[in-house]
Symmetry: C2
Subunit: 219 residues, 2 copies
């Protein structure tokens, strides 16, 4: 069979993309890029790696077909290559929670105590009724790159200072980068401590965005 060889080539080619998901460092970069496109040094700083190393991983992810690369003046901006690539990362993350106890444990360790959540469907409904305030507690640049329609940006560090902005008669829903991002958890805890009724959105911006695209019942 000469076709065996051709088949090997095929699997080798697919494995190039698979390798993109095989390193914790690369996954951290993907996780950051799921929020917004970014430049190399920004990613290096956010992930605590050297610039050269970050650049190498980003190139690998680009070669794996997961990221696009755009030159913008003196910097190079990387971004997810498409919805399917983003969806793949989210699906891998979710499947790993479901099947690997280690992941769940690590997540609990990182996130701290559970807080009450609200799902997408219910939030959409409540938004329609208008009796809820949605706050985006991610850094402002990420809000700028994309956010839930109707949400207002209150980065976590500014939350205490800006509590007064939130109408006192409405429940607050906080969201951030996703299920493994600690910001919304902390926001809900602080709001509860301040005597406010608050919940965390299940998932974060990337999940919301993907879901909205496949099921565009607005927002």
């Amino acid at each position: 069979m000469a076709s065996r060889e051709a088949k090997q080539f095929l699997f080798e080619a697919i494995a190039v993309m698979g390798k993109g998901f095989s390193s914790p460092r690369r996954l951290e970069l993907l996780d950051l890029l799921a929020q917004a496109p970014r430049g190399v040094d920004e990613l290096a700083r956010a992930s605590g790696q050297s610039i050269a190393n970050t650049s190498q991983h980003l190139q690998a992810l680009h070669a794996a077909g997961l990221l696009t690369r755009t030159r913008e003046g003196t910097r190079v901006v990387y971004a997810f290559a498409g919805e399917d690539a983003l969806g793949l990362w989210l699906a891998l993350r979710d499947a790993s929670v479901a099947h690997l106890g280690e992941v769940e444990r690590a997540a609990r360790e990182y996130l701290g105590e559970d807080v009450e959540t609200i799902g997408r469907a219910e939030l959409l409904e409540r938004l329609g009724e208008g009796d809820v305030v949605v706050i985006d507690v991610r850094p402002e640049e990420e809000f700028a790159a994309g956010h839930i329609e109707g949400a207002r940006s209150i980065p976590l560090e500014e939350l205490e200072r800006r509590l007064a902005e939130l109408p006192p008669d409405r429940e607050v829903v906080a969201y951030c980068r996703g299920p493994f991002c600690a910001y919304a958890h902390q926001a809900v805890r602080r709001l509860s401590d301040a005597g406010r009724s608050a919940r965390r959105l299940e998932g974060g911006w990337p999940e919301w965005s993907l879901a909205s695209k496949s099921d565009p019942q607005h927002a």
Copy 2:
């Protein structure tokens, strides 16, 4: 920040599953298991690797949460750990076709000339009307482990011999393991050469099965 460390743990844990997809050999095993659960030596033979090596890869995939392991008497049977794990493999494969030219080229090289296809929706419709014959050209064991309702099993090697079994007034639809499996392509070519009207189903059994579960309009 002590949380940096906790985050690293989290990504390391997820990367364990990611590593499952990072080797061509492992992908080949996943591809085989997408059809039906199998024992170690069967997989070793089908993929042309040594038994010890196959066993190691399978253990890695098991540790990655992608496969389950069951002892059946003297043999050990591996199977996909769930729909999400299977879906992940199919999504990775599809995304790699979409984003990596190398994969497309390798696929074309392996599959040979294109043949006409029919999609899931159209096939369902035609099945309702009853003017089409669906044949499963995979090996019989794979048919036995699961197949499209109403299809009949005619392994590729038996096709010529059993041409007479196919009602001459109906179009034939052949399917096999998936878009990268050469059986259905070959079946359609041979049927066309024999003067029959024939098409290949887009995708194969795993795709059909997953789609049927999320959209159970029968079949």
